[in-house]
Amino acid sequence: MDSFFNEVISGALGRYNYWVVIFLMMSGFYVVIGSTNLVKKIVGLNIFQTSVFILYISIGKINGGTAPIVWANAERYSNPLPHVLILTAIVVGVATTALGLSLIMRIKHAYNTVEEDEILAISLEEDEDE
């Protein structure tokens, strides 16, 4: 019984980071699909992606490691590969954000609203008018 609990505790300690990150990811995902305001959706998308980045960097962390820049006192370095991938992914993320936000500005200009419900209603009317 004792060993079982020990296992649970060590398992949890080895994974708490992932669990919190999953919570963050899913909250961001919820904001994307659950909210109707377009700006909030974009914020949610950013939170979602940023949390995925934390997941990647957690994968790359090594206990007792240090930043992967040569250092005389280093015992071991953390894995640099996830860092590189995430650098790229961050840039991709900001590109998407910029495009999404400029679309929102145009949508506001065209529909005079940025609420998905209202836009949907207007579009439906338009579909019927045609």
């Binding site: 240090t66 930043a67 250092w71 006192n73």
Partner: protein
């Protein structure tokens, strides 16, 4: 020594975070964000000493810069918002 400073900074950040959540006015939030930013800069500095690799202070410089620009941008754009709106922010 550095550990104590780190913990204190984390506490201060938490308090600023609470203010940022509670508002009630936009300006309160910006103020809280500003304070949060400066404390993050200090945290980076202290954390560098804590782990024995303080050479990453470039990051601190950069955070201070970004924080300032963020606050200025917020203020600049607020001027344009319809914010004589007396509604309390939720």
């Amino acid at each position: 020594m550095f550990a104590t400073a780190t913990i204190a900074l984390l506490v201060i950040m938490c308090l600023a975070l609470v203010r940022a959540f509670r508002g009630p006015k936009i300006f309160d939030r910006i103020l809280a964000v500003n304070m949060f930013g400066t404390k993050t800069v200090l945290l980076i500095a202290v954390y560098g000493f804590l782990t024995g690799r303080p050479e990453f202070l470039d990051l601190g410089i950069f955070y201070a810069l970004i924080n300032f620009v963020g606050v200025i941008a917020a203020l600049k754009f607020i001027e344009r918002l319809e914010f004589y709106d007396e509604r309390e922010e939720r």
